[in-house]
């Protein structure tokens, strides 16, 4: 469904519900309560679901943020301050708390972070239970009616329900806008490939923290809704049980799906309420319904139904091959989109050891601006380790210098290097799994905009840059496909495209030829040729020695973590030492034959 149509429908639906509830005499007190509960739980579930779907973070502590919203609202109402102000304050407080918590999310596996947030939920319940002056302690606190400055009056219970429905509608729309916009794609990128996203210049922990802050802010709105529609706050409303209910609702509705959030909320409210008439078995019905839904709709209600309704996708194999690539088109693309390479890479006296084992010793070489350096060596020679030091994922144990242009790289984190103009491709492509090829490249193009502007390149929008890259790399036909639906060769080409979209002046390539057949190799070859002709600085690592020799200006040979030889391709080709290292003393292939 079209995004704007979806939002307009949400708005219309919300307005309709609000109108029905707000009109006196249509919905009784009990019906109002059920609608209000679904509304405030929909907000909270959307917050949890957003985090799970876009970031892969499962929070069992979101009731803590609901509590922030609820008690802020209660205190503001007590002092007679307007509800608009309490909503803004709740959002502010919750997002600060969420940011602090979210920044550590990347340290832990999903389950462990779940536990950490669960501990937060428990601590919050304890704090609420004992902070009597604000929360009324475990006895609870009565909430005065909300006073609205916009409406110029105090809201009765019916008004509070209308306000909660309105908040839910707006929250769902805002979450939708964020989730399906550039920010949401960035979070999806970080979720599927932390390393590749860091290489692209994103700071994964900061992105997690931002997402957590946003989600916490949304959850706090649910708390505001609870405060005014229940008009009594008690720690039990924010206990572990409530947190678990939010998880149940998220999974049952379908994680990361907004309609799912609404359905999940309706599920946890309506199922027990519907079973009210049947004495003693509401818990049973709730448990059985949960199990039944997940047995038959494993992805949750909404994604499963959506999958059934969607017309079957185009069969794989059709026009998924990369189109032939013209190196002249690449050259033109690079000149249009990349700044001129002016910085060279200098590595001098670099050592790297892991717990006493020396992986790299006294490595020195330079890659002058606009040249292509090939880094070859048998398996275990330390090539990938070296690339990871250059990319910032490992820190050199010691080095006289690791410089890019005038910039000292030794203490730079990985995500800072993209801004300096260092791009990187991956052996396994590492595309963002939940983004289409276009979105993969566009997410990088947005981050590269600053560098293009700085270099005074023509003011093309990131979308235009993306289209240029897709066309030049022959990816246009597959632009809307997800990476997993495409052959590996296409994924690797797209990975290069993603790097070019960052407008780097140096591209470090990890085994661009590995795992490809001859046709795919020739495509990569053409791209490399085009990049080289346009003057991109290239650092290339590969087992495919002949390919590297063909494309590079100079070659560095590594063996056992040391530089074995350095020179022009011709020189290396004839170096007996290199022959020994690669093919053994008798000239027969020894450790690796991937030439």
């Amino acid at each position: 469904m079209n995004a704007w149509l979806r939002r307009i429908l949400t708005l219309a639906g919300g307005a309709l519900v609000a109108a029905v509830v707000g009109w006196p005499g249509i919905v009784g007190d009990y019906g109002q309560f059920v609608i209000a509960s679904i509304a405030f739980y929909a907000i909270a579930v959307a917050a949890v679901s957003l985090l799970a779907g876009l970031c892969g973070i499962w929070s069992m502590g979101h009731t803590a943020f609901m509590a922030i919203g609820a008690y802020t609202a209660a205190q503001f109402a007590l002092h007679g301050w307007p509800v608009e102000l309490s909503i803004l304050s709740a959002i502010g407080l919750a997002s600060i708390a969420g940011f602090i918590l979210g920044i550590s999310a990347g340290r832990f596996s999903v389950l462990y972070f779940g536990l950490l947030t669960l501990a937060l939920c428990m601590a919050a319940t304890e704090v609420i239970g004992h902070w009597t002056s604000i929360t009324g302690g475990d006895e609870g606190i009565q909430v005065s009616p909300a006073r609205s400055i916009l409406l110029g009056r105090t809201l009765d219970l019916r008004g509070a329900v209308v306000m909660t429905v309105t908040l839910a509608t707006l929250a769902l729309i805002v979450v939708d806008v964020v989730a399906s916009g550039p920010i949401g794609r960035r979070w999806l990128a970080v979720k599927s490939q932390r390393t590749a996203s860091a290489a692209m210049g994103l700071r994964p922990h900061v992105e997690n923290a931002k997402a957590f802050a946003f989600s916490a802010a949304v959850a706090s709105l649910a708390g505001v809704g609870i405060a005014f529609t229940i008009s009594y706050l008690d720690p039990i409303a924010f206990s572990l049980d409530a947190s678990v209910q939010l998880i149940v609702a998220t999974v049952v509705g379908g994680a990361g799906n907004l309609l799912g959030a609404l359905l999940g909320a309706a599920f946890i409210v309506a199922v027990p309420e519907a079973a009210r008439g049947i004495p003693n078995i509401s818990v049973f019905v709730f448990g059985a319904a949960t199990v039944a839904v997940l047995l038959f709709m494993q992805k949750g209600i909404v994604p499963t139904l959506a999958h059934l309704l969607r017309p079957s996708r185009r069969k794989a194999g059709e026009s998924v091959q990369a189109a032939a690539i013209d190196s002249a088109a690449i050259e033109e693309l690079v000149r249009a989109c990349l700044p001129r390479a002016t910085e060279g890479l200098v590595v001098d006296g670099l050592d790297l050891s892991f717990g006493g084992v020396k992986a790299l010793q006294d490595i020195s070489f330079t890659v002058p601006a606009g040249s292509a350096l090939g880094l070859i060596g048998p398996n275990g020679a330390g090539k990938t380790s070296l690339l990871n030091v250059i990319g910032g994922f490992y820190r050199a144990t010691s080095a006289r210098a690791v410089r890019f242009g005038a910039q000292d790289l030794i203490r730079q984190p990985p995500y800072a290097r993209a801004a300096l103009g260092m791009g990187r491709t991956f052996q396994h492509a590492e595309l963002f799994a939940e983004l289409t090829l276009r979105e993969n490249i566009a997410s990088a193009a947005r981050l590269g905009a600053a560098r293009r502007a700085q270099a005074g390149l023509s003011a093309r929008s990131p979308e235009e840059i993306t289209s240029l890259i897709l066309d030049a790399l022959g990816l246009a036909a597959n632009a809307e496909a997800l990476p997993s639906a495409l052959p590996f060769g296409v994924q690797k080409v797209a990975d290069i495209g993603r790097t070019l979209a960052l407008a780097p002046s140096l591209v470090a390539m990890d085994e661009p030829f590995s795992g490809l057949d001859e046709r795919e190799r020739s495509a990569i070859r053409a791209i490399l040729q085009g990049m080289r002709d346009a003057g991109v600085t290239i650092l290339i690592i590969d087992h495919a020695v002949q390919e590297v020799l063909r494309v590079a200006d100079r070659i560095v040979v590594l063996e056992f973590g040391r530089v074995l030889a350095e020179g022009a391709p011709e020189q290396i080709r004839n170096d007996p030492e290199v022959h020994r290292a690669y093919f053994g003393a008798d000239g027969a292939p020894a450790r690796t034959a991937a030439a």
Binding site: G28, D29, Y30, G31, Q32, F33, V34, S37, G129, T132, G137, D138, E139, G140, Q142, V143, L157, I226, I230, S231, Y232, D234, I236, A237, E273, R276, P279, N280, S282, V283
Partner: protein
């Protein structure tokens, strides 16, 4: 729709019975029926109390209905499960008042959960909330219109228990209470009562997290303090757990507790360890051979055969009896206002289950007396005459 149907029924009623029953009859009342609502924790850990409390009240209302009802009206007692959760209680209140249109809420369970429903029940809808199995001092100071109780406050009970320990000659008393305010405040009033009764007595209080199962460290802590009596304000499982740990360590420190634990669950769970525990009870012992108690046991056997006679169902049986008596004395037309007036007509009304109750606009708490009891051979036995918890007995 409902209002139209109600209006139609009212019109029909006018034609049949004449004009004196005019539009004055309250919600939940017809010629044939009186609707009363209630909430009980029927699921979750607290259902150990909620299930028998519901059974006791159900038994009494059913018995009255089988005897012809109150002035020809059968009582429809609608009970909602609140799972001891404030939000679910608010939901129950809205359903009972908004959809079922009950006359009043009776025998509602849970101090915190019920308080959550007050803004809606008492303030917005002005529905009577009578004889709750709940309560705190601030519910009644000042009195709130429509809120009437026949249950001695937990604070007063704890004070009486403290006074009793002093009268038993205890000089070094340890008060162990759970941490929520519903236990903490009675714990404090026990301490205050002990100090007041004997300024020279040493008294300490420790707070334990509600729901604690492993009482070993608390028992060790208590033994180190070497008190000559322990007053415990906690749920029955925790009283039993502490007693077991203490007796296991060969300590015979006497234990006192308050009314909610005066049930047969305590000897069932605690066995020999709780022998000799002293407590105060809202009701007379459930095993007495008086007509009122015989009636109780017969009703329970008939209407709730899976419930054994015990203090919690007896208490709610007594509450139901007080409610029915107020309905009997209420003037026609029966509505929320005349129902409350019916309560005010109860002066020293003796149900045979609870001590005599008296209500007045400035006296929302119908009674302040308790029966002292002690566990002997697994059965609670009365000690002395009922005591007035507000007096210096």
């Amino acid at each position: 729709m409902k209002t139209w149907a109600g209006a139609a029924a009212l019109l029909a009623g006018m034609l049949l019975t004449g004009a004196h029953a005019l539009a004055q009859v309250g919600p939940g009342v017809t010629d044939k029926e009186i609707k009363l609502g209630s909430w009980q924790p029927l699921s979750g850990p607290v259902s150990i109390y909620g299930v028998p409390v519901r059974a006791g009240a159900d038994a009494y209302f059913n018995m009255i209905n089988d005897q012809g009802g109150v002035k020809g009206r059968k009582i429809k007692f609608i009970v909602e499960d609140n799972a001891f959760n404030p939000q679910r209680t608010v939901a129950a209140a809205r359903k009972l008042i908004g959809s079922d249109e009950v006359l009043a809420i009776a025998v509602g369970f849970g101090t915190g959960p019920s308080a959550a429903a007050f803004p809606y029940v008492l303030q917005q809808e002005k529905v009577p909330f009578v004889t709750p199995y709940a309560g705190a001092e601030d519910w009644y100071t000042p009195p709130r219109p429509g809120l009437l109780s026949a249950q001695v406050l937990y604070e007063n009970q704890a004070a009486a228990v403290g006074r009793w320990a002093v009268k038993d000659g205890r000089k070094n008393i340890l008060v162990i209470h759970s941490d929520p305010a519903a236990y903490h405040k009675p714990g404090e009033s026990a301490v205050a009562a002990i100090r007041k009764a004997d300024a020279s007595a040493k008294v300490e209080a420790i707070s334990v997290k509600w729901g604690t199962q492993d009482y070993a460290p608390i028992a060790l802590d208590a033994l180190r303090r070497a008190p000559d009596a322990i007053i415990q304000i906690a749920v029955v499982q925790e009283v039993s757990a502490l007693a077991k740990e203490l007796r296991q360590q060969n300590s015979q420190i006497p234990i006192y507790t308050y009314s909610p634990n005066v049930t047969q669950s305590l000897p069932l769970l605690g066995g020999a360890a709780v022998e000799g525990v002293k407590g105060v009870s809202w009701t007379v012992p459930a095993s007495l051979d008086t007509p009122a108690l015989k009636e109780y046991r017969a009703a329970l056997a008939k209407y709730a055969p899976d419930q054994k006679p015990d203090f919690d169902s007896l208490l709610s049986f007594g509450f139901a009896k007080v409610v029915v008596e107020a309905l009997r004395r209420a003037d026609e037309p029966l509505n929320r206002a005349t129902f409350i007036e019916g309560f005010y007509k109860l002066k020293d009304y003796d149900s045979g289950v609870l001590p005599p109750v008296t209500f007045a606009p400035d006296r929302p708490l119908g009674l302040t007396t308790l029966q002292r009891v002690v566990l002997k051979n697994g059965v609670w036995e009365a000690v002395g005459e009922p005591i007035d918890t507000t007096a210096e007995w």
